[in-house]
Symmetry: C2
Subunit: 369 residues, 2 copies
């Protein structure tokens, strides 16, 4: 591509960023999907209303208010003033909604990028639902960090206060499906090559290698949104990143690196790759703790799925492992050069079986698109 | 949206335009879809090889060469020199393909926007596959016009040389499906309103009207890509725009306006809206005509579909009409303010039945997204 949303130094073209990213959030349909996520809604609702002491009489900043729901709850929980910042035209709907709920004297909607907005005062609480797939996709936490460093009082609290990224070995039929899809695409390509030579006199086979690369990336190297069933988890879940929202810097999250160990917990299991998810907690701060700690988890759950689902990183071919087999995982996630809101993952995995046998090491690159 | 690809004066942010538009053309998968369109391929192939006199020993410019197929054919037909301009990184694949077909001494691939490219000489032929859905979506013909005005010799020829936009009254089951989809989305919204009030204490009904507008636009006012069967055409097809590619200016196509008459040709038919498509012709120029005129049509055809399909503009509710009923259609298509490559259509239709009865006039806005 001759042009991209972020150059190598991390500077972002705002127009391009809008075209690529923010535009989605301008649709009520998309807002509704988030507002219908009961796990998400219950967690924030309980976090606010079971910790009214953090809101009552306080000044609150809602980063990326969308339709305004968190700003409204903050006001209903007794905030003296709420600044609700939103980059898209959704700000107009938020304003409407706030007026209809008779909170316009408390909640002030400000349309603009958090990075540009100037508030008349510092705030006691920053609340934001900034989490993307696998926590960090969308890189929206950058804007929350920016807001915190500029506008949060020294003893202020963050909602949520903590976040963690998790991974676990899984089994998944997707591993077979994706291989079939990839094989089908390549078969199709080879007939295309033949037809183009036969009917149109052009030898396209010079493009086979780049086409193969494109298809491999699409079918085999792109992580997949999936709602995993808990019984697809075949080993120990491990934490690959912990974030204290009060202190983490952008440099701390620009690259996520972890060397972790897991092990298979099923007697025998078809190891197909890894599932990844996150959780966040609302604990207030050390000086100013929550009365009631709330957790929002997007871990696989039979009954309570979220719109975030889980990200699946498939390894080909799958292999059968047994209870106690040990996985040593090296994980590194950084931002895509062409779009800082997307991610690239380098994943390696060494497997030591209980017999002492070492399996051939696995090393693979993934894209979180 | 706070930012857009084109401002009111038609100036375009290139980075945004890339993010919105060109990026698709950087994928070989997408190129393959176009290269597998036999109607498209046959028309261009025959246009070139049945009119070798236009190419033999000549200088050719291919605007938006993609994988390079038209440039390769031009060279194979005897061109002395072919300039193949491509804005995306597909240019690198084109270069590979051209080398693999041993034409690198004839075809020069130039990566860049046609608007910026400087050629060392004027050209005898401009060849380009610039047609979007309903001909003008994508506004790529602007770049062809720019190329023509800057680089075509006075007696040069355009491939294709002419283009036409067509419309016809149709029947379509989509009219029922889209209403069902819209009704379903609104029912769903009303339960959401109730739930949000009950469980989270927020009255969202202030957003019902804008949500309804968003859903109406999406389900009922957005034209639909469809492969129509010829028996879905229930009346006389009419031309709403003719373009001479040698003389048309950007001002001539920025707004397409037509007042045309059609009539129902079926004995009784359920009038559900209009189908729209285009054709282009390869006729050379008056001074320098084709030896063999070639037509590329995207009209509904039982056997020969194209990747362009047809655009369907649905009218709700459908109504039963009879043979000879007359439709007076006022059609106006302009570019979307937020993205100059998308279109907005104002369509009105007066229906006079053979009995002399005038039906209530229809007036509707559509978006070609």
């Amino acid at each position: 591509m001759g042009s991209s949303a972020a150059d190598g130094n991390g500077s972002v073209d705002k127009g391009v960023d809008f075209a690529n990213y923010f535009c989605t959030y301008g649709f009520l349909y998309h807002q509704k999907e988030m507002l219908c996520d009961r796990v998400r809604m219950d967690a924030y609702y309980n976090a606010v209303f079971e910790n009214k002491h953090h809101f009552s009489g306080k000044v609150v900043l809602d980063v990326g208010t969308g339709s305004g729901i968190l700003a409204i709850w903050s006001a209903q929980a007794g905030a003296r003033k709420v600044y609700a910042v939103e980059a898209t035209k959704m700000s107009e709907h938020a304003r409407q909604l706030i007026a209809a709920n008779k909170l316009q004297h408390v909640v002030e909607v400000i349309e603009g990028s958090m990075e540009d907005v100037v508030l008349p005062e510092k705030v006691d609480v920053i609340i934001s639902e900034w989490m993307g797939y696998f926590l960090l996709r969308e890189s929206m936490f950058d804007s929350v960090i920016c807001a915190r460093d500029r506008w949060l009082k020294p003893d202020g609290v963050m909602y949520p206060s903590h976040a963690r990224i998790w991974m676990s070995p899984i089994r998944s039929g997707l591993v077979d499906q994706k291989i079939r899809d990839y094989d089908g695409a390549m078969e199709d390509w080879h007939s295309f090559i033949n037809d183009t030579k036969t009917f149109y006199g052009v030898d396209m086979s010079a493009l086979t290698k780049p086409f193969d690369g494109e298809q491999k990336k699409y079918y085999l190297q792109t992580s997949i949104w999936n709602n995993l069933h808990p019984n697809q988890i075949i080993g120990k879940s491990v934490i690959i990143k912990e974030i204290d929202c009060l202190t983490t810097t952008v440099d701390d999250i620009r690259v996520v690196q972890a060397s972790v160990s897991s092990s298979i917990t099923e007697e025998t299991a078809r190891f197909c790759g890894f599932g990844g998810w996150f959780d966040v907690h609302f604990r207030g701060s050390e000086k100013n703790p929550a009365q009631q700690e709330i957790e929002l988890t997007t871990a696989p759950d039979q009954d309570f799925g979220t719109h975030w689902g889980q990200q699946v990183f498939l390894l080909h071919p799958p292999q059968y492992l047994g209870s106690g087999d040990e996985l040593t995982i090296n994980f590194s996630m950084s931002r895509s050069k062409l779009n800082h809101r997307l991610m690239e993952v380098d994943l390696s995995c060494d497997i030591k079986q209980t017999s002492g046998k070492l399996l051939p090491p696995i090393q693979k690159k993934f894209y979180i698109e």
